[in-house]
């Protein structure tokens, strides 16, 4: 019996391969977009983890220089001799590769490639030409250093590990150390850090890296894309399953009348769907892999450029990823088919055997009510909600509400057009279009979501680009940035720059806890550079003058939002010194709080901190000469000098990469939506014959009818696009002002990009037209006999 029922159920797909393809393709595409994006995110996160795990630094406390500069080797030895069990690390870029030098004898066990118990050849690591541990592809990118390359897949992507001595030599930073790793077990007698090395500060072991926090916003973009794509795909799947179930209602009734128990039929249909979901999920995960593999190099380049986060450009396959892809396909199918199965289960055995109109028309009123409620909920959450969960709930309510509101809105618009129509054909056209809306509504909802997602995410990414480049302009106002390894070098820099540069802006910073949050205090010299370039989110009048008079401080947005410090609130700057907030500025390159005080005040509060980093103002065309002078006269290595133009060029290049990724995902989601339209039109084509035949009989040519169908598809897409724009902007607003604030503590200003939206709209119309082309073409070629058959077969 089971086999007989199964063969009957399966015969439906055999006879309607297009429906099967729709179902499989919809589910596969949904799974592909979702799992592809997830794969990219997972790979990036795995790379961060590998980066953290390569040194395992996160588990250890660290000591760094207060000013952020280098630690001298003498200081390291002094600390060791004062009883501090610390191990030195130096880090730099060698031909773009992150080169990390460490000292294996003092490193806490579990740190670095040469472990005490790993059987590695410590002698070869320490002496002679040395060894460099890295992934094979990273080794290939390294210049010839004379050291032996050791292929080790465990090392983070684009990272090379070697002995600190070799690293110092290769980086041209003899005697310099970037940070000290503090062993978890320390000797009983140990002098206080402030006595041995007052310039240094200890920070506690971290849970997650800064890189992971900084890149969160980028991954949020991708995740939003993946999720929305999956939602779009689910609409397709829901449509395909709904259609298949509706068409099989008579068959189910027949099966039951012939004695197949309802339970068996339902169970077998569920099994059938599960099998289809697994097949589609498998295909989707495979496709997702292709998408991820194609996009990953761009993503990796973006993350490396933007955040110096090294991500492997090569995708690795994880079983968990495959399984989650299949699970999401199964889950999505379950969600999409639950309603259809439920309605089948409740179908009376003796109900009319005819397929009900495959439509939501009968539920139109209820759906409109649900849409209104969801949109109200979204609005309520936007106004009163707080927290990341509320932010995402708001996004969900907004999108689903918007999608559900589409059919009633479309119907209303078409009814208005119908009323205004004069010609008979025009009137019929509007009426017929309105009649198509229920059948096309799922596909149109998919298009709506795809367009809204694209508008929303593009707006977010573009706004982020504008904000970030603006922020770079503000922050990187100096033409050249120089770091000194010690105070002697700092003095040499000041001496050289004093002669050559227009202005020297020392960059002083100290760590400070504000309202229980980690923060950094920076010093700002009273200089036109700041006055001209800095913009404030909020500020008191004459903010720079008042700052110069040490009447208050500036804080970044993160601190303002997280610690709730508004203008006038008192901020502790150092021991016993608290000052009111004069201004709040945007800060998009840094996850923690910042406080800016005037330089004189900083030197009063932190007399022990010397400036080791400097911003130098000079005419842009003289930067090269200044670099050369600093290199030759002050002995500053090139790696310690960064010029502003290079950073900005790199940032812009990075954003171009980001847009490559965004555009690719835009096109993919639109393709999915276009596919949904195609499938809906194809399945509707057969049902439409009875509607078209009378019009044809009354004298419209098939060609004309096909042309009208094409126009109809484009018109519906255009109307949907018109509704998608506000929804997309609402989505962008939610992402920028709700989710970003909750997740990262900054609120990005929202910019509008009308040309982008226009291009997107054209793309959507193109997708709809392409989707409608084939059904229209086949309509124009429908044999007259088939149209006549409508009249004969009418029951």
């Amino acid at each position: 019996m089971t086999f007989a029922i199964l063969s009957a159920l399966a015969s439906h797909w055999r006879r309607n391969p297009l429906q099967l393809v729709t179902l499989l393709a919809g589910l596969a595409l949904a799974t592909a977009l979702w799992s592809g994006v997830q794969a990219i995110n997972a790979e990036a996160r795995a790379s961060y983890d590998a980066a953290a795990a390569t040194l395992g630094e996160g588990q250890f406390a660290q000591i760094t220089a207060r000013g952020g500069g280098a630690i001298s080797q003498q200081t390291y030895v002094a600390l060791r001799r004062a009883g501090w069990a610390v191990s030195p690390v130096i880090e730099g870029r060698l031909d773009g590769v992150r080169l990390i030098g460490l000292e294996p004898l003092t490193a806490p066990s579990g740190l670095g490639p040469v472990r005490v118990d790993a059987g590695a050849d410590l002698g070869a690591f320490l002496s002679g030409e040395g060894q460099i541990f890295a992934r094979p592809d990273t080794l290939a990118r390294l210049p010839d250093t004379g050291a032996a390359g050791v292929a080790s897949p465990d090392v983070a992507p684009n990272t090379a590990l070697t002995d600190i001595g070799l690293a110092q030599r290769l980086l041209g930073r003899a005697g310099q150390i970037d940070r000290l790793i503090v062993a978890p077990v320390q000797p009983l007698t140990r002098q206080p850090l402030s006595d041995v090395a007052p310039d240094l500060m200890q920070s506690a072991a971290q849970e997650g890296g800064d890189v992971a926090r900084l890149t969160d916003s980028f991954h949020l973009n991708l995740t939003a894309f993946g999720l929305l794509s999956f939602a779009v795909g689910l609409f397709i799947v829901h449509g395909a399953i709904g259609l298949a179930f509706e068409q099989r209602r008579p068959m189910v009734r027949t099966l039951r009348a012939l004695g197949a128990p309802l339970g068996s039929v339902m169970a077998l249909m569920a099994v059938e769907l599960a099998v289809l979901a697994l097949i589609a999920g498998g295909i989707g995960v495979g496709l997702g892999y292709v998408i991820a593999a194609a996009l990953l190099p761009d993503v990796a380049a973006t993350l490396r450029g933007l955040y110096e986060a090294d991500v492997s450009g090569q995708l690795s396959l994880h079983p968990a990823w495959w399984l989650s892809g299949l699970a999401i396909a199964l889950g999505g199918t379950a969600v999409a088919s639950a309603g259809a199965l439920w309605s089948l289960a409740r179908m009376p055995l003796l109900s009319g055997a005819q397929p009900r109109a495959w439509a939501m028309a009968r539920q139109g009123g209820r759906l409109a009510a649900v849409a209104v409620v969801l949109l109200l909920v979204a609005g309520g959450l936007a106004v009163w909600g707080s927290g990341l969960i509320a932010g995402f709930a708001m996004l969900g309510a907004l999108l689903i509400g918007g999608a559900l509101a589409l059919p009633p809105l479309l119907a209303r618009m078409l009814r208005l057009a119908e009323g205004a129509a004069r010609g008979a054909v025009t009137q019929w056209f509007w009426a017929d279009t309105r009649q198509q809306v229920p059948g096309l509504s799922l596909a149109l909802m998919a298009l709506l979501l795809a367009m809204a997602a694209n508008v929303g995410v593009s707006t977010m990414v573009s706004s982020f680009r504008l904000t970030f480049t603006g922020f770079l302009d503000q922050r990187l106002a100096s033409e050249l940035y120089v770091s000194a390894a010690d105070t002697a070098q700092a003095e040499a820099i000041i001496a050289v720059a004093g002669r050559e540069a227009d202005a020297i802006l020392p960059l002083l910073s100290a760590d400070q806890t504000v309202e229980g949050l980690p923060a950094q205090v920076y010093a700002a010299r009273d200089h036109a550079t700041y006055r001209e370039n800095w913009q404030f989110l909020r500020a008191v009048p004459d903010v720079w003058d008042r700052l110069a008079r040490a009447e208050g401080v500036l804080i970044n947005e993160q601190l303002y939002r997280r610690a709730g410090l508004d203008l006038g609130a008192m901020v502790p700057v150092g021991a016993g010194v608290s000052l009111p907030v004069l201004g709040i500025y945007g800060d998009y390159g840094n996850p923690i709080g910042q406080v800016i005080v005037t330089e004189a005040l900083f030197r009063d509060v932190f007399p022990d901190i010397d400036a080791l980093r400097f911003g130098l103002r000079i005419a842009p065309d003289q930067v090269g000469e200044l670099r050369a002078a600093l290199r030759d006269q002050a002995d500053i290595p090139d790696a310690a000098m960064i010029d502003q133009a290079a950073i900005k060029a790199m940032s812009l290049a990075v954003f171009e990469r980001t847009f490559t990724v965004t555009t690719a995902l835009n096109v993919l989601t639109l393709a999915v939506a276009g596919f949904a339209i195609l499938m809906s039109l194809l399945t509707l084509a057969a049902m439409r014959l009875p509607q078209l035949a009378p019009v044809w009989a009354l004298g419209l040519t098939r060609r004309r009818l096909a042309g009208l169908d094409l126009v109809r598809a484009i018109l519906l897409a255009a109307l949907t696009g018109a509704l998608a724009l506000p929804l997309g902007l609402a989505l962008a607003w939610a992402l920028l002002t709700v989710v970003n604030v909750e997740a990262f503590g900054w609120r990005l200003p929202m910019y509008l990009f009308p040309l982008d939206y226009l291009r997107l709209g054209v793309l959507a119309l193109l997708a709809a037209a392409l989707a409608a082309l084939w059904p229209a073409w086949s309509l124009s070629r429908t044999p007259p006999a088939q149209l006549l058959g409508v009249f004969r077969h009418e029951r």
Partner: protein, 216 residues
């Protein structure tokens, strides 16, 4: 006794007037009867109760001594698979299966498929040339003959036909019904034919007439 009805009543939810108001009759194996009545007289409802497609409010519908009202959905489904065969006005073929597969379908559900019998039935019903066609490629008369073959293939003890020729023209209807009667007679099953056509009812040896839910 193959079929035994005692005081069967049925009222549809939401309606006031009962459709059946105490119907009783018996049918032996090998016996045939026509059930006639005006539209809405309850004859289709009565047939559905006998076929286990619906349940009576009160009274007894017993097939081979088993009271259907005591059976659950699974039990009634088993009854439909094995004991009772129903032929509907709409032919209710499975559109995605070809003629041969449709004929074999119920026997396979019942687990007693006999290909030789299918061939014989197809031959008798004039379907041998159409076994590989799909229902949509057949005429109405041909489709109903496929439905008859499907119903008779597992040798049901009782055949119920609900206006089986309602969608057919007169000549075709007579041919199809005569074939049905002859084939049922050959298997020794009981047959109840629901029809509103006096002419077709006359082809049956016994006749029951329903009027407003009561046997006249």
């Amino acid at each position: 006794m193959l079929l035994s009805l005692r005081d069967v009543t049925k009222t549809y939810p939401g309606t006031e007037a009962p459709v059946l108001r105490g119907v009783s009759f018996d049918l032996d194996s090998g016996c045939m009867l026509a059930l006639t009545g005006e539209s809405g007289s309850g004859k289709s409802t009565l047939l559905h109760l006998i076929g286990g497609l619906d349940t009576a409010d009160s009274g007894v519908v017993a097939i081979k001594g088993t009271d259907l009202t005591a059976l659950d959905d699974v039990g009634r489904a088993a009854l439909r698979r094995g004991t009772v065969g129903v032929i509907f006005q709409q032919f209710n073929l499975i559109p995605s299966l070809n003629v041969a597969a449709n004929i074999a379908f119920q026997a396979r559900l019942a687990g007693r498929h006999d290909p030789a019998r299918d061939r014989a039935l197809a031959d008798r019903l004039g379907l041998s040339a159409h076994l590989h066609k799909y229902p949509e490629q057949l005429s109405g008369g041909q489709q109903q003959r496929v439905a008859i073959a499907r119903t008779l293939s597992p040798r049901p003890a009782l055949v119920l036909a609900d206006e089986p020729t309602g969608n057919l023209d007169e000549a075709t209807a007579d041919t199809v019904l005569t074939l049905l009667r002859d084939l049922v007679a050959e298997t020794g099953a009981g047959l109840i034919l629901v029809t509103h056509s006096e002419r077709l009812a006359a082809l049956m040896p016994r006749r029951l007439h329903l009027r407003a839910g009561l046997l006249a």
